[in-house]
C-alpha cells in the first residue's frame, strides 16, 4: 500500500497515512491496548457467570476442581510463563537488532505455546474418558462416589464443567490464534524484516501473548485450586 504514495521521508514500513514512524507505532500500540480491553470484557462475562455459580454451587465446583489434574495444570502454568519470558526477550532482541536471537526466541515461544495446547488436549481427553464433557453423556457419578462427604447435584456439576470447557476452550482458541500469529512473525523474522527501526508487530504480538498468559494466570487458581484441602 505504501509504494503507490511513498514520499522520500516514508520508510518501507511506514504506511501512507501516517506522518512519522512514531505516530504509526503509537497508533498500533493504542489499538492493541484497546483490543485487549475488549478481550477483558469478553472474558469478563464468563468470569461473572463463574463467580455467581461458584457462590451458589460451591460443593460441585470444589469436587469438579479436585477432578482436574493439578500437575498438568501447574506444568502448563510454568510453560506459559516461560513463553511470556521468551516473548519479552524477543521484543528486546528486535529492538537491539539481534535478528538471530529473535528467531530463536520466537521459535521457543511457538514451542511453548504448542506444548501448552498439547497438554491441554491431554487434560481434555481425560475429561472425555470420564464423561465430564457437558451434554447428553455427561455423568457425575464418579464424583458422587469419590466424595461421599459432600452433596453433589449432577446438574450443578455440569455447570462447573460447562464453565471449565467454555473458559479453557476460549482461552485455547486465543492460544491457537497466537500460535498462528507467531508463525507469521517467525517467518518474517527469518527474512529479517524486524529490527530497531521497525519492531511494532513483534511488540504487538507480545502484548497479545502476555494477555492470553494473564488470563490463564487467573483461570488456573479459579478452576484448579478451588478447594484442595483433605476432606474430613
Amino acid at each position: 500500500m505504501a509504494d503507490s504514495t511513498a514520499t522520500p521521508v516514508h520508510g518501507p514500513e511506514l504506511l501512507h497515512h501516517f506522518s512519522t514512524a512514531q505516530q504509526q507505532r503509537d497508533a498500533a500500540s493504542l489499538g492493541m491496548w484497546l483490543f485487549l480491553g475488549t478481550e477483558i470484557m469478553f472474558f469478563g462475562g464468563m468470569f461473572l457467570a463463574y463467580l455467581i455459580y461458584r457462590l451458589l454451587y460451591f460443593n460441585e465446583f470444589a469436587a469438579g476442581s479436585r477432578s482436574l489434574d493439578i500437575w498438568l495444570g501447574t506444568i502448563n502454568t510454568i510453560v506459559l510463563i516461560c513463553s511470556s519470558l521468551t516473548v519479552a526477550l524477543g521484543v528486546r532482541a528486535a529492538q537491539m537488532g539481534k535478528r538471530k536471537l529473535l528467531v530463536i526466541l520466537l521459535l521457543l515461544t511457538l514451542i511453548f505455546g504448542l506444548a501448552f495446547l498439547g497438554i491441554k488436549g491431554v487434560e481434555w481427553y481425560a475429561k472425555y474418558k470420564e464423561h465430564h464433557i457437558p451434554g447428553m453423556s455427561f455423568d457425575a457419578g464418579d464424583l458422587i462416589r469419590d466424595y461421599p462427604q459432600i452433596h453433589i447435584d449432577p446438574a450443578h456439576e455440569q455447570i462447573y464443567f460447562s464453565l471449565y470447557f467454555a473458559m479453557t476452550g476460549l482461552h485455547a482458541l486465543h492460544m491457537i490464534i497466537g500460535v498462528g500469529m507467531f508463525t507469521y512473525l517467525l517467518y518474517h523474522s527469518m527474512k529479517g524484516r524486524y529490527g530497531p527501526e521497525y519492531y511494532t508487530p513483534i511488540e504487538m504480538g507480545g502484548l497479545y501473548w502476555h494477555f492470553v498468559d494473564v488470563v490463564w494466570i487467573y483461570l488456573f487458581p479459579l478452576l484448579y485450586l478451588i478447594d484442595r484441602k483433605p476432606l474430613g
Binding site: 500500500m1 504514495t5 504506511l15 501512507h16 497515512h17 506522518s19 505516530q23 503509537d26 497508533a27 493504542l30 489499538g31 484497546l34 483490543f35 480491553g37 475488549t38 478481550e39 470484557m41 469478553f42 472474558f43 469478563g44 462475562g45 464468563m46 461473572l48 457467570a49 455467581i52 455459580y53 451458589l56 454451587y57 457437558p134 451434554g135 447428553m136 447435584d153 446438574a155 450443578h156 455440569q158 455447570i159 460447562s162 464453565l163 467454555a166 476460549l170
Partner: protein, 543 residues
C-alpha cells in the same frame, strides 16, 4: 460520469479508480463509508418490510394476515435487522467513517485495512442473517431471552446468534478504529477542545462499542453453546439462572441504545451550529455530556428487568441511576435550543430534521423517565407504551439524525446537491408519518395493549388503524430520499466546496474530496464552530 459540467472534473475519491475491484478492495475510508451506505440501506428496507407486515397484521383485531408463529418471527427479525444491521452501524459506519478523518484533518482512519475488514465482517454477518431469514427465521424476540431461546424455540436461534456475534465484531473494530484515530491522527492545532462535537459524540459511542459489545458477544456465544451442547447455564430446571442472561444481555443492550442515539446527537450539533450561524452554546458541556451519557449508560441496565425478579433494592438503585441519564441528555437539548436563540436560522432540509429530532427525542426521553419510575414501569411493562418510547428515540431520534446528516453531507459525499424542495417535503412527510405511527401507541400502551401479540381486543382498533396508516406515510417519506439521492448523483447541481458556508475542516476540501482528503495537510488555527469569522453569503445555494 458523463455530466453537464464543461470543465473536466478534478480528481477525487470517486473518479480516481473505476471498477468493482477498486470498490471491494478499497481501503479509503470514504469508499468504505459508501459500501456501508449501500449495505445498511438494503437492511433498512428489509427491516422496514417486516415493520409494514406487522402494522398490516395489526390493522384488524383478528389474526388474519399472519398467525402467531409468523408474527413472532416478524417482530423478532424486524428488531434484529433494524438494531444490529441498520441502527448500530448507521451513522458511525457511514457518516462517521466518511467524516471522522476529514473533520480532524487526517488522511485516513488509523487502520484502513481493519476498516475494510469490519465491512466484510458486516457483510458476512448480514449474509448469515439473510440466510436465517430465508430459511425460517427466529421467534425469540430480538432479546434472545432464555430459557425460551435455549431450550424451547424451534427456530434458527444459533444462526441468528452467530450472525449478530459477527456483526458485533464489525462494530467493535469500527469503534476501535475511531478511538485510535481521534487520539493519534489529529492535524496540527486540532486540540481536544477544538474538536467538532461530532467527534466527541463519536468518541463516546466508540468507547461504548469497545466496552459493551464484547459482553454481548460472550453472552450470545454462551446461548449458542447452551443450545448446541445443552449446558444448562441459563436453564432454571438445571440450576442455571435466566436472570444472569438478562443481566449480561442488557449490560450491552442498554448502552447499545446510546450507540444508536449519540451519533445522531453528533449530527445535530453540526447541523444546528451551521444553520443558526452560531457557535454551539456551552461547547464543553455538550462535549462532556456525550462522555457522561457513555458512562451513565453502563450503570442503568437493570431497569429493563424491574419485573423480571430482581430484588426491590437493586430495582430502586437502578431506577435512581436511570434518572441520571436525563441530565446529560437535557444538557444537550437545552444547549441546542440556547444555540438557536437569536441565531439566524435557515430552514434547510437538514435543519428540519434537526427540529424534528429535538422534539421527538425530547418526547422519547421524557417518556423514558416514566419508564425509569418503578411504579409506572410495572404498569406499562411489555405494553405499546414501551414500543412507542423507544421508537421515539430510535426512529424519531436516531433515524431523523441519520437522514438529516445524510442530507447535510450529501454534497460532500457525492459532489452533487439534492433537490431542496423535495428534501423539505420528505422531511415533513417523515415527521407527520412518524407521529401518526407512534403517538397512538403511547395511548394504546397506557390503555394496556401488550406488545408482541398478533391479536388484540376490538376497542383498540381505531388507534391501531391510525398507527398503520401512519406507517405507510412514513414509508413514503423514507423511499423519497433514496429516490432523489440516486437521481441527484447524475442530475443534481454540482456542489461547491462549501455549499452551506459551514465551519469545519471537512468543508475546506473539495466536494467530493480527493483520495487523501486534503491537497495540503491542514493546520488548525481556529476554534470549532467559528461562525463569527465566516463571512455571510447572500443566501444558501440550493439545488
Amino acid at each position: 460520469m458523463a455530466t453537464a459540467v464543461i470543465t473536466p472534473e478534478r480528481e477525487n475519491y470517486l473518479n480516481q479508480e473505476y471498477g468493482i475491484k477498486s470498490w471491494l478492495l478499497t481501503v479509503d475510508h470514504k469508499r468504505i463509508a459508501l459500501l456501508y451506505l449501500v449495505s445498511i440501506t438494503f437492511f433498512f428496507f428489509i427491516g422496514g418490510f417486516f415493520a409494514l407486515l406487522i402494522r398490516l397484521e395489526l390493522l384488524t383485531p383478528a389474526g388474519d394476515l399472519v398467525q402467531a408463529d409468523t408474527y413472532n418471527k416478524l417482530f423478532t427479525m424486524h428488531g434484529q435487522v433494524m438494531i444490529f444491521f441498520f441502527l448500530i452501524p448507521s451513522i458511525p459506519a457511514v457518516l462517521g467513517n466518511f467524516l471522522v478523518p476529514l473533520m480532524i484533518g487526517a488522511k485516513d482512519l488509523a487502520f484502513p485495512r481493519l476498516n475494510l475488514l469490519s465491512w466484510y465482517l458486516y457483510i458476512i454477518a448480514g449474509a448469515l442473517m439473510l440466510h436465517c431469514i430465508c430459511t425460517g427465521g427466529v421467534d425469540t424476540g430480538w432479546t434472545f431471552y432464555t430459557p425460551f431461546s435455549t431450550a424451547f424455540s424451534n427456530t434458527k436461534v444459533v444462526e441468528a446468534g452467530v450472525a449478530i456475534f459477527i456483526a458485533g465484531f464489525s462494530s467493535i473494530l469500527t469503534g476501535l478504529n475511531f478511538v485510535v484515530t481521534i487520539h493519534r491522527m489529529r492535524a496540527p492545532g486540532m486540540t481536544w477542545d477544538r474538536l467538532p462535537l461530532f467527534i466527541w459524540a463519536h468518541y463516546a459511542t466508540s468507547v461504548i462499542q469497545l466496552l459493551g459489545t464484547p459482553v454481548l458477544a460472550i453472552t450470545l456465544l454462551l446461548v449458542v453453546f447452551e443450545r448446541v451442547f445443552h449446558l444448562g447455564i441459563f436453564d432454571p430446571t438445571r440450576g442455571g439462572d435466566p436472570l444472569l442472561f438478562q443481566h449480561l444481555f442488557w449490560f450491552y443492550s442498554h448502552p447499545a441504545v446510546y450507540i444508536m442515539i449519540l451519533p445522531a446527537m453528533a449530527v445535530e450539533s453540526e447541523v444546528i451550529a451551521c444553520f443558526t450561524r452560531k457557535r454551539i452554546f456551552g461547547y464543553k458541556f455538550v462535549a462532556m455530556s456525550s462522555i457522561a451519557i457513555a458512562v451513565f449508560g453502563f450503570l442503568v441496565w437493570a431497569h429493563h428487568m424491574f419485573v423480571a425478579g430482581i430484588s426491590l433494592y437493586s430495582a430502586l438503585i437502578f431506577s435512581a441511576l436511570s434518572y441520571l441519564v436525563a441530565v446529560p441528555s437535557a444538557i444537550k437539548v437545552f444547549n441546542w435550543t440556547a444555540t438557536m436563540y437569536k441565531g439566524s436560522i435557515t430552514f434547510t432540509t437538514p435543519m428540519l430534521y434537526a427540529f424534528g429530532f429535538i422534539g421527538l427525542f425530547t418526547m422519547g426521553g421524557l417518556t423514558g423517565l416514566f419508564l425509569a419510575a418503578l411504579g409506572i414501569d410495572v404498569h406499562v411493562t411489555d405494553t405499546y407504551f414501551v414500543i412507542a418510547h423507544f421508537h421515539y428515540i430510535m426512529v424519531g431520534g436516531a433515524v431523523m439524525g441519520y437522514l438529516g446528516g445524510l442530507h447535510f453531507w450529501w454534497p460532500k459525499i457525492s459532489g452533487r446537491m439534492y433537490p431542496e424542495w423535495l428534501g423539505k417535503f420528505a422531511a415533513l412527510i417523515v415527521f407527520l408519518g412518524f407521529n401518526l405511527t407512534f403517538f397512538p401507541q403511547f395511548i394504546l400502551g397506557y390503555m394496556g395493549m401488550p406488545r408482541r401479540y398478533w391479536q388484540y381486543p376490538p376497542e383498540f382498533q381505531v388507534l391501531n388503524v391510525l398507527s398503520t396508516a401512519g406507517s405507510t406515510i412514513l414509508a413514503v417519506g423514507y423511499v423519497l430520499p433514496m429516490v432523489y439521492f440516486l437521481w441527484s448523483m447524475r442530475y443534481g447541481k454540482p456542489a461547491t466546496e462549501n455549499p452551506w458556508n459551514a465551519a469545519g475542516l471537512e468543508w475546506k476540501t473539495s466536494s467530493p474530496p480527493p483520495t487523501f482528503n486534503f491537497d495540503q495537510p491542514p493546520v488548525v488555527d481556529f476554534e470549532a464552530y467559528d461562525y463569527e469569522h465566516i463571512p455571510e453569503v447572500e443566501e444558501v445555494p440550493v439545488g
